[in-house]
Symmetry: C2
Subunit: 252 residues, 2 copies
DNA sequence: CGATAGTTTGACACAGCTCAATAGGCGTGG
DNA sequence: CCACGCCTATTGAGCTGTGTCAAACTATCG
């Protein structure tokens, strides 16, 4: 099944081919100047957008299956995507969270080695594997962006290895809340002292990202709330009155 | 201090400029067709080798300091380099091991976010930051190799996150021994049932890579030896009579 | 308003940590 | 070649943080 490679909902079709403006689909990405497409000039953007399409993926749905053939790549436009790995006996670990405008997919490999799943309702911009790989060959800037994004993800993965290997349960939970607070809203003022957001993850997801059980996660969240570091409404809506106090809890 | 950017020991100087053969320094890398330099043609290789130099770094010495300005990059020619991160209170985590012919250094960043240290005596081929970044701009192939290497390291980091987050101490130790067995000797037959090698890491290093204490590591190694999965002589020399039996112990 | 999925809380067990003592490897110097 | 000292690794005993199992609670949605 060609999940996201088709042209349904392709906004670019509404553009005149002679129009060199940025295609309508790309406006959202452009606005925040992130994402790999920023490397493309309007003409290249138009070419790529011809084979790309926007999709909504609802919470829980799979974007890329582990050990499945990869036939498309995506950019996250909104929502959160979790990248998971599973051992043969079912133990699971989340190995990354992708926020807008992150890229999802493993270039230059025929099979995925992990599972990408929508943690919330997500909207993505997808394009066929072949189209992207063709553009990479034609645009050095695109490959450069991809390298930058990969280096960023590698830095993040290594930071998280410290969290997994050396932090206590309490520090792990604080670290995750801080990570989410800093990434979930790309428009938020990074200097603001207080943050408010809806948790994109269930307790089970959090446990899988931190290498803990849901019970331990729940106890640590309860403690953070009891200590006034966070406020929770409806189990999902979190308020952090003072980011600095949360940072202290992460164990540096 | 310009640690590795000078030309001391630059074998390329002995080459005639009109000689288009592969520079002498590069022969070792070429032999195994790995490493980023494989993307360069002989002429480019010659150009890069003009500013590169071989160095021996003895066990325990630092190649790149955390939060230090990065002025050079290196390729590992032999030995093992450990990449570490340290929390403010001293807790440490090894976030990667680089074997020959891996690349060491973080392109496009002025400061390193981790510490690279020789785990064994190491020999490297180093070149100034500027020289590599210039070549990247001139050779799309080089950037492609760098992307491939970075993607490989990202895959490895994510695999290790599963080990850190979800495996037992026994599985962690088995996973590390398998990792080393598979990487330490680039010339070894990957199909061979038995492997023999000298551990490049102390018990403390192993603990820092696995998120354990040295005592727990020691106990698990003792158990593997008692069960006949490995044989140890002189605390460092390891024989794995049957790789498949070790794999079973890694928890998949 | 009942069903369902997610979350919290409690009591207990155990894997891995801490602290402490012992043993082994290896270089140095007598 | 042995004796000594240093550093690393092993082993033991007890403790604790996190996991396990079970039950109660809460939000959400038909």
């Amino acid at each position: 099944m060609n999940k996201y490679g088709n042209n349904s909902g392709n906004a670019a079709e509404r553009l005149d081919i002679h129009n060199s403006e940025v295609p309508e689909v790309c406006a959202a990405c452009e606005a925040r100047h992130g994402g790999i497409c920023g490397a493309l000039d309007p003409q290249q953007l138009l070419a790529l957008s011809k084979s790309s399409s926007r999709h909504r993926v609802s919470s829980g749905a799979e974007l890329v299956g582990d050990a499945e053939a990869v036939d498309h790549y995506s950019n996250v436009l909104s929502g959160v995507v979790k990248l998971t790995k599973t051992l043969s006996d079912g133990r699971q670990q989340i190995v990354g969270l992708q926020f807008a405008p992150d890229f999802v997919g493993r270039p230059f490999k025929d099979e995925s080695t992990l599972n990408a799943e929508a943690a919330t309702d997500v909207s993505v911009c997808s394009f066929p594997k072949a189209a992207l790989e063709r553009m990479i060959k034609e645009s050095a800037g695109l490959e450069h962006r991809l390298l930058q994004q990969t280096l960023k993800e590698l830095d993040e993965a290594r930071d998280w290895m410290v969290t997994l290997g050396r932090k206590s349960a309490a520090e792990k939970v604080a670290s995750l809340l801080l990570l989410i607070a800093r990434n979930i809203n790309p428009y938020a003022d990074p200097e603001s002292e207080t943050v408010e957001f809806d948790l994109p993850l269930t307790r089970a997801d959090i446990a899988d990202y931190l290498g803990l059980t849901i019970e331990t996660v729940s106890r640590q969240i309860t403690k953070l709330r009891a200590d006034g570091v966070i406020d929770i409404r409806n189990n999902r809506h979190i308020t952090v009155p003072d980011i600095a106090r949360l940072e202290v809890r992460t164990g540096a």
